[in-house]
């Protein structure tokens, strides 16, 4: 093993000089949340960098719903899960069908629909939220969880269609031709040839839609209001309603809420990075 030269050591030092601030910058809010989650109330409010008596008591309070703000924790957790999964499944269905139709079947007007979808993709979600809220009222869907599921499908599917169409375009046309020659019907083509080949992109898109719905705050807080209907992020926001909010419990709940998406993200990172960033911005 040879000793690094002075020049190499200098480069390494410069890299560390960037790396350490980046690490601190990234971790501070997350670390702060974690410290709160394991602190008893007195320690949390005294600004200590590490609590004197770290404890898991906060988690126990949350899991047993032993606080006014947490009395519906498990129902809200369940709501978040169901809505995320439903939005993911529906988005996959809508987007796969549309991408197959546009890219493989070359349906007349497919290009126009693709442009409509792209246009939707570029409307800032917070702008669409205002008229969408009123529309859901007109449809009689306010305070119904379907409104949030459908809103999430609306927001997730344009990007999903776009990514899936890009991926579909890369599959060779000969595949379809060969399958049709062998007498495959359109549906068989879809089910037996198209879906298996698209699996990596489908995993990426499904994950994308589930995370989008799980993380959504604005639409959830506009469309749902009953304590037993709302999702976890809305419940977290509701903590702020009181002046003496139990912040250590808020942070604990937030920590629990943040774990599943982080785990999903890292588990599917391979697909996410390959399937999403490649399609996110085409230079």
């Amino acid at each position: 093993m040879k000793l690094p030269t002075l020049r190499e050591a200098g480069t390494e030092a410069k890299l560390l000089l960037i790396g350490i601030p980046v690490f601190i910058w990234t971790m501070v809010p997350i670390y702060h949340m974690f410290v709160f989650a394991i602190s008893p109330k007195e320690d949390a409010f005294s600004g200590k960098l590490w609590p004197d008596h770290p404890t898991l008591h906060n988690f126990s309070i949350v899991f047993h719903q032993q606080h006014y703000f947490l009395r519906d924790f498990w129902i809200q957790f369940w709501n978040s899960t169901v809505i995320a999964l439903a939005a993911g499944a529906l988005t996959l269905f809508v987007a796969t069908a549309a991408a197959f139709s546009i890219s493989r079947l070359r349906v007349p007007g497919g290009r126009a629909v693709m442009n409509l979808a792209l246009f939707t993709y570029f409307i800032p979600a917070a702008f669409l939220a205002v008229p969408m809220y009123r529309t859901m009222g007109n449809y009689g869907l306010l305070n119904n969880q379907w409104s949030l599921i459908l809103a999430m499908v609306t927001i997730a599917s344009p990007y999903a269609i776009w990514v899936l169409k890009q991926a579909s375009d890369k599959l060779p046309v000969e595949l379809d031709e060969a399958a049709t020659m062998d007498g495959a019907s359109t549906l068989q083509l879809f089910r037996l040839v198209y879906l298996p080949l698209m699996m990596p992109s489908l995993v990426a898109i499904g994950t994308y839609a589930i995370l989008l719905a799980w993380n959504e705050y604005l639409y959830a807080f506009l469309l749902l209001s009953n304590d037993t209907d709302i999702t976890l992020p809305v419940a977290l926001g509701n903590f702020l309603a009181a002046d003496d909010s139990p912040w250590e419990l808020l942070m604990t709940t937030g920590f629990i809420y943040a774990l599943p998406p982080a785990a999903i993200y890292y588990a599917f990172k391979r697909y996410m990075v390959g399937g999403l960033t490649a399609g996110a911005v085409k230079s």
């Binding site: 890299l15 960037i18 790396g19 990234t26 809010p29 997350i30 702060h32 409010f45 600004g47 269905f93 069908a97 549309a98 139709s101 079947l105 070359r106 007349p108 007007g109 497919g110 290009r111 126009a112 629909v113 693709m114 442009n115 979808a117 792209l118 939707t120 570029f122 979600a125 917070a126 702008f127 669409l128 205002v130 008229p131 969408m132 809220y133 009123r134 529309t135 459908l150 609306t154 599917s157 776009w162 359109t186 879809f190 993380n215 705050y217 992020p233 977290l236 926001g237 702020l240 942070m251 937030g254 920590f255 809420y257 943040a258 982080a262 993200y265 890292y266 960033t277 911005v281 085409k282």
Partner: protein, 289 residues
């Protein structure tokens, strides 16, 4: 909608009975998305525009000082915030392109803000900045004996913090995208430049930047469009306060909505359209090739 129509050159299909079975299936499979689009995009947008048709709404907006302030804040957010974010992302993409084991590990950690939901982390920052109980001011007190500033009670500082939270959240995503662009540049170019004794600045100026220029500008515009809708960073950190001085257009729209002034909410969004639509048009031209 005029933009979508002009951007698409597909002729309207003659719906004759001569459609082949695959085309019939094509239409059937396209229907679910079209239903979603008509019910939850087209109808709400048209309905919203119809609600915003009265000139009186725009007069009321014009007379509302909060609106002017929100428009200025949004511009600051976009022009200053996004450009700072993208410059840092460009810089960090060069850092993460270095081949070192510890930098690989750091890149895994670095993506955390993007992977976790924004609500708990924004609330975490909010409490950190609490003037009495927050960690920041307690540390300031411990080291200097002075009370720290009341961070979120000063509109300038509060807006800066909101921009900071936005950067914290979305920096990893854009760094990752720019990193993919940077890694796509052929290494031969850099080796040739090394042989010729080019400085790092010359390498950046004549190799990296020309190949990443388009990607960088696309990313900046895209980030600007999306940031117009960054409701969470402002709403959850400052709530638009103090005294409604830190609103941006997205939180202002929701504020009017909560006050049951729907025409005003829609009018404030319509006012942003002259800035949004050219960006959207530009992006669509670029992405629908």
């Amino acid at each position: 909608m005029a933009i979508t129509l002009s951007a698409s050159d597909a002729p309207s299909p003659p719906l004759s009975a001569r459609l082949s079975p695959p085309q019939v299936w094509g239409i059937v499979l396209l229907t679910p998305y079209l239903l979603v689009f008509f019910a939850f995009v087209l109808y709400p947008v048209c309905y919203g525009l119809w609600l915003a048709r009265h000139p009186a709404s725009y007069v009321a907006l014009y007379n509302d000082p909060i609106f002017a302030r929100a428009a200025v804040n949004t511009l600051i957010f976009l022009v200053i915030g996004i450009n700072i974010k993208m410059l840092i992302a460009l810089f960090l993409s060069g850092f993460f392109a270095q081949q070192r084991p510890w930098i690989r590990w750091l890149s895994v950690i670095f993506i955390l803000p993007w992977a976790v939901p924004s609500i708990p982390t924004i609330l975490s920052v909010r409490f950190m900045l609490n003037p009495e109980w927050g960690m920041v001011n307690q540390l300031i007190f411990k080291f200097t004996g002075d009370d720290g500033p009341n961070w979120l009670n000063d509109p300038t500082v509060a807006l800066t913090m909101a921009i900071g939270v936005h950067i914290w959240k979305s920096l990893p995503f854009w760094t990752l995208i720019l990193l993919t662009g940077r890694l796509a540049i052929s290494n031969d170019l850099f080796e040739a430049a090394d042989v010729d004794g080019a400085s790092w600045w010359q390498k950046f100026r004549f190799i990296t930047w020309p190949s990443m220029q388009t990607l960088y500008i696309t990313c900046t515009l895209l980030s600007m469009i999306w940031t117009l809708g960054d409701f969470n960073s402002v709403y959850l950190l400052t709530g638009g306060g103090p005294a409604d001085l830190t609103h941006v257009l997205s939180t202002l729209g929701i504020r009017y909505l909560r006050l049951d002034q729907l025409p005003l909410a829609m009018a404030s969004i319509v006012c942003a359209m002259p800035f949004v639509l050219p960006l959207v048009y530009f992006m669509m031209k670029r992405l629908s090739r």
